[in-house]
């Protein structure tokens, strides 16, 4: 057969163009790491006490709750959904823990299993929201908003106005203990991260979540049980919220519904700052780790700099806008919602 030339100069140009786009996409993928490095360097230079071993420990400590929360939300957001239930549900799980260990309100003494019970509650509520979202075809935003309200109600009811103070020595042991200088709670949150990393990369569940977020129709056509995967994602989110509630309860040793307050939106911010898109299918848990770190160090740095408290949150807002603006694709036809 004759040797035929299939391609033309324009095809080579096309291939070049495609390579350029791929390269650009890669750079955008790594932008959050750049942003993290930038802020780390900046804060090291201008925030007194930022660059100290002790402060790293503090950052790790403060990272634990947001990290766990983002791990749950990452999967939900990868689907293109939202989960706002963290506020109420996290508070509820936290309250539950303090009521189950040795505390000032009742005679319970479940010890460590208390953590499990509380986390299971989070898991069950996650299942419930997932079920309503999937079977009722109600937007996850609304479902989880309502669930959050319901769970705050139950949380307040669980302690009837007077929060329980946990007296269990176990809790003290956990808060003050550390491995290799890393506090136990941070270790726990890192374990959740490892689990999430594992889930995303080493199970088919992770692959399916990615697929559904990328293109639900393809996933469905390949025989993936989309509904069941979605419910599993909400169960996982419920688990993470449960864990984060338990961690905050252990940290403050007090079961107040406020434990879940202001955890959800910062976590979603962290997920997005890390480079996971709200429309789903792009990003992942490593991105979220980076995002959580960015959000945490900014907060920590601004406090260390003694920034006026009224301005602190505004400054955070501005910084996040810049950080996100640096890492979005602004192509002409890119549709952003």
């Amino acid at each position: 057969m004759e040797k035929k030339q299939y391609t033309s100069p324009i095809a080579e140009e096309f291939a070049y163009e495609m390579r350029r786009q791929t390269r650009k996409a890669k750079i955008i993928n790594y932008a959050p790491v750049g942003v993290l490095a930038f802020f780390f360097a900046l804060l090291s230079a201008i925030a007194p006490g930022f660059l100290s071993l002790y402060n790293f420990r503090t950052i790790l400590n403060q990272l634990s709750v947001p990290l766990v929360m983002t791990m749950g939300l990452t999967f939900v957001i990868l689907l293109g959904c939202t989960d706002l239930s963290g506020e109420g549900l996290g508070g509820f799980c936290g309250c539950l823990v303090t009521l189950l260990v040795i505390n000032t309100k009742n005679a319970n003494d479940f010890g460590a299993p208390a953590f499990l019970i509380a986390i299971c509650c989070g898991l069950a509520v996650g299942l419930f929201s997932g079920f309503i979202h999937v079977k009722g075809k109600i937007p996850s935003f609304m479902v989880t908003y309502a669930i959050s309200s319901i769970m705050s109600g139950f949380a307040v009811m669980s302690y009837r106005g007077q929060p329980a103070m946990a007296k269990d020595p176990l809790l003290t042991k956990i808060t003050s203990g550390s491995v290799l200088g890393i506090p136990y709670l941070t270790v726990a949150s890192l374990l959740v991260f490892v689990a999430a990393f594992f889930l995303q990369n080493y199970t088919r569940f992770g692959a399916y979540v990615m697929a559904i977020g990328d293109n639900e129709a393809v996933a469905r056509n390949t025989g993936v049980n989309v509904d069941r995967i979605k419910m599993k994602v909400f169960i996982w989110a419920g688990f993470c919220i449960g864990v984060s509630g338990v961690i905050s309860a252990i940290r403050v040793a007090r079961g107040d519904v406020g434990l879940g307050k202001d955890t959800v939106f910062p976590a979603i911010t962290a997920v997005v700052v890390g480079g996971t898109t709200l429309t789903g299918g792009k990003g992942g848990v490593v991105n979220s780790l980076v995002g959580a770190l960015i959000v945490t160090i900014i907060n920590n740095g601004l406090i260390l700099m003694g920034v006026n408290m009224y301005i602190r949150s505004a400054l955070q807002g501005v910084i996040i806008i810049i950080a996100v603006a640096l890492s979005v694709n602004r192509g002409k036809k890119v549709i952003v919602k």
């Binding site: 075809k137 109600i138 609304m142 309502a146 307040v156 939106f265 505004a314 955070q316 806008i321 996100v324």
Partner: protein, 328 residues
Amino acid sequence: MNETSGSVLDILKSMLSSENLSKILSVASIVVLSLVFVAINPRFMVSRNITNILNDMSPLWVMACGVAFVLMLSSIDLSLGSIASCSAVMLTVLFNSIGPGAYIVVIIYGMLAGLINGMLHTYLKIPSFIATLCTQSIWQSVALLISGAKPLPMLPPVWPYIEWVKITFGVVPILFIISFLLMLLYTVIQKKTKVGRTMLALGENESAARLIGLNINQAKITAFFLSGIAASVGGIIFAVKLKSGIPTVGAQYNLMAIASAALGGVALSGGKGDILMTIIGAGLIIIIQNGMNVIAVDGYWQQIVFGALVLIAIYMNADHNRRDLVVK
């Protein structure tokens, strides 16, 4: 079957099409809920309580009208609450210096705040969720800075500027009329202008809207702009209703306004919605809150009942008929 009965049937069928059905159901949910409250405590329907409900609805309704535009784009505006807070504070502060002109300044502020949201979203292509979440914290800070982080009461010297709030027409309070007028204006914008049409079109199918030659950026910015105005009007209503500028007054109303719009049938996935129907959403939420107090639901149960009723209402309004529907 002859032809006429066929066409009558057709009309009936079209009336009961999924879309109309959900409208009917959402109106029905308000009626049923009200009946239940009345059955438990007949005083729910006394004229003064009706006035209360209409009054209480107004800020939420106004804000829901505004955010409905943004939701139609399938974007989201989380900065409503703090724009409202900031407006309330500005109004209170400015009354002292420039008198009634403050109303205008505050609405101009709302426009600006909306414009900023819109431009961040369209030109920097930042997802609206994040852009407005950030502007939310920025405006919150501004509100605290202006007020010196103190709730500012309106003192008797400025009361003349807000006396009009007490005017009622029968059972209908003036705040409700204002909200109604704003709703009317917004309905006109939605149904009768190019931008309004563009918003719905681009919420449904952005690539098509673009190729049709519609001005997408303008429509997006306008949506946020209108949302900003609505938020500042909401803030003004809070301020005159509470006779004060409280720098955190709107905090709870972000999600509540979005929920109202969604309850009123605005699809969070965009492209669908009717400004008029936001009255259903705002009405439902306020009736639930009001009714729970009238029939004295135990305080511990209030949030739980609230959440459950919202779930039920949104379920009834949701479109379950299309099998291929992707709900996020």
